[in-house]
Subunit: 527 residues, 2 copies
Amino acid sequence: MITGKNYIGNNLSAKGIKTYTTFNPQLNKENEFNFVEATTEEIDQAVHLATNAYEQFSELSGIRKAEFLNAIADEILALDALLITTYCSESGLPEGRAKGERGRTIGQLRSFAEMVKEGSWVEASLDTAIPDRTPIPKADLRKMLIPLGPVVVFGASNFPLAYSTAGGDTAAAFAAGCPVIVKSHPMHAGTGELVALAIIKAAVKTKMPNGVFSNLNSSGHEVGVALVKHAGVKAVGFTGSIDGGRALFDLASQREEPIPVFAEMGSINPVVILPKAVEKRGESLANTYASSITLGSGQFCTNPGLLLGIKGEALTVFIKHLSDAIVKIEPSCMLHPNIIGAYESNKQKAVSQSGLQVMADYDSDIKSNYARQTITTVEGKTFLENPTLHQEVFGPYSIVVQCEDKDQLERIITHLEGQLTGTIIAEESELNEHKEIVSALLGRVGRLIYNGVPTGVEVCPSMHHGGPYPASTDSRFTAVGIHSVKRWVRPISYQDWPDSQLPDALKNSNPLGISRLVNGKMTSSKI
Amino acid sequence: MITGKNYIGNNLSAKGIKTYTTFNPQLNKENEFNFVEATTEEIDQAVHLATNAYEQFSELSGIRKAEFLNAIADEILALDALLITTYCSESGLPEGRAKGERGRTIGQLRSFAEMVKEGSWVEASLDTAIPDRTPIPKADLRKMLIPLGPVVVFGASNFPLAYSTAGGDTAAAFAAGCPVIVKSHPMHAGTGELVALAIIKAAVKTKMPNGVFSNLNSSGHEVGVALVKHAGVKAVGFTGSIDGGRALFDLASQREEPIPVFAEMGSINPVVILPKAVEKRGESLANTYASSITLGSGQFCTNPGLLLGIKGEALTVFIKHLSDAIVKIEPSCMLHPNIIGAYESNKQKAVSQSGLQVMADYDSDIKSNYARQTITTVEGKTFLENPTLHQEVFGPYSIVVQCEDKDQLERIITHLEGQLTGTIIAEESELNEHKEIVSALLGRVGRLIYNGVPTGVEVCPSMHHGGPYPASTDSRFTAVGIHSVKRWVRPISYQDWPDSQLPDALKNSNPLGISRLVNGKMTSSKI
């Protein structure tokens, strides 16, 4: 079923000569299929088809887009065991994770389907005319959100399903009415092709215009660069490293017509452990965090890579418990030899910094591509002075910083780069005593967690997944949840437009029955 | 009352040695006051104060922010005749315009005050916990909008009040909870200082933190560049030329931490005149457009600089009427010798293009700094092939393009750069016959107008003022109306946060009584 070809709209295409394979990290060998990298001509064709498809797709009703989104979910489920085994063979992740991630992907698609079927997401706003207003009459103005145009989505290495081919970025873009061109992630090109096939089948079944979706293979940077620079592309979604995301952001900003890039990038997800909490619940916290740090081999963007506490016996005991607990956890396989290679070298760079102490390092025999979990510790002053220690070590690694006092802790937080999440572990009474710390953390993060772990990103409207740079390139948007659709839309106003010619969302009779802001009041009524 | 000094927070400061004056274009001579350009040290102080002020200001209640915004409006009104005469002396604009623009500025401030007092603008979203969900419990998540941090606002030459010191950008930033540093526009530095004084008085009266506002004088690029590059600045608002806006966007994008720049830039605001309409109402249309093109000496960002019609007798007659009507209008004064200089040279560049025909050019004697209104015409093919003709000529100038047919008209629209507005002049029956044209225009603009003129930007929620690049740097945001606050805010999620520690907007009891999305449904009820 896997052909190794690109989908240029509904058609398979393999005009290129450059090929590559994916890798099975569990078996430590290459997978069988050869993937043919997309050529410049194929890239042009995909963008051309997407541009044409946009005209029709952008004007489709919510009901029609919901049919498409639900059909994608159905087709993904129909791939059944083939998808799961391919996913596992290309990621080293276990079957349970594959199924869980498939469930999340399906859930995302269906929640966007619900959103567009209901229809109020277009934020319709109507201000009716006041012809007799003095000194000048007031025109009739009506505003709603419309799609930006073709969107390019870069698949994520660590989420072959939920943040790749038919993942959150793609689902949100389709919901918006934007055609999507996926730059397939080379580590899971087979999984990507299967999901692409599901999307194409769904598009054909639900009669979407050809070009609403394309899937381009690519092992290096060329295809992605060409897509982001292409004049027909109007926005970009990316999940991955800071270097990768920033490079795309720079390319997009330097275009003759700059386009928005929403890149969700690195994060060390600081966890602040306040004194009373660590004293009272040090051991259970240690167990909880040993699990969170090693979850999915530490390959989550919300992995807690930095624990901040105030020096003292309770913290010392906590570090001991954490170190003891973490080495008891069975190591797990990382996504790819390149990922484990980067983990080892980034960890090496961190532990070679002066003042850093290794508290735990899994030291039994281990299979190829399996990661040794590691806990280090350092004094607050040393951490504050050495920016290398602030960098993400993607994998099951965490550093515990022992601060002198509250002030140093606050100073460290204000010196951190932007983060996806920040966590406070505290007794409730401690929050009032540490208001400055909470407020400093709020300024650096996109999500504040109380007495929990940052791993586990709930998909719901109130989730914000993003944060000040470099957690994301634009902190004003989320990558998760239905509000992520706002990345791919812009408002348009109609002035004095004849009712019969207005989009349904703006007509007097409110034929969609959606919630609208009418002369400043929210209502579902007609005018 | 005008000192020529900068406001660094609440204090006047003039440490620099570089000074400049403003110019009275009506009298064709310099005004009396010397303005002292801000120094690097003063810029640092202003940003430092703003950063400190942010901590307190960002957490103020809507009621307190509304007091501040309303007090600014009151203080501006209290400036009374001094403000109006200063405005006129620095802009060459008539008293009526000054008063009208003051009214608009006051209206904007008060509408943002209403918005924050009511409070629902923070888009509170609550998803309550499901502790017994399987396989894993659902956490409690609550999301709302919070301010980005200090915002730099660049005053606009053509709106000394409504889009400068206390204009739309500043009012929206204050409403969001962001301190503001204004880079005062050198052409109206006196008007700027008076309004800055009003803001400072209001800030002191309503007990805002020192640094919530600063006003920096500047005659060149240095102050603006230093501000946009300053690590403490978190967002930028700009209204002006494409070159200026793009330069700031590039600086901001190239920072170590890129920040959003919302620049509202040039636009030629295409007007499509369909055949039946021009046949039926050519003469009245000509009169309407002669007025719109010359309104405020053509110095509006929504000035109709491009009229597109289909070749034929009716269009020829329309051009004749328009040309006859426009030269009968008394010329008016432009803002500054530099502005009229640019107008004359840009117009010269346009009319020297091959194939362009000048149909009207005011040729009687004229005062210094007064602009001669001009109408030109060109064939569709020539226009399509010469991008110079697509460039804005800021002033009372418009080009009428005579297209061969519908297809050429559509092709021209798709080849236009992004625009703030697009207008269709048509009989209602013609809209159905020209769906492709309407759809093409929709793709290039931020506001679609039917049978009206683009000048006159209503301030209301349904107004979108912005558009695809280069109309603005980010088409997803508006520069006008209460939704413009979204440029200066980002969402934050609280996970499992204790109710007593949540911001009021997210508390169970909904003490603000605002409209919130609770478990997917909009409601003002408590939980």
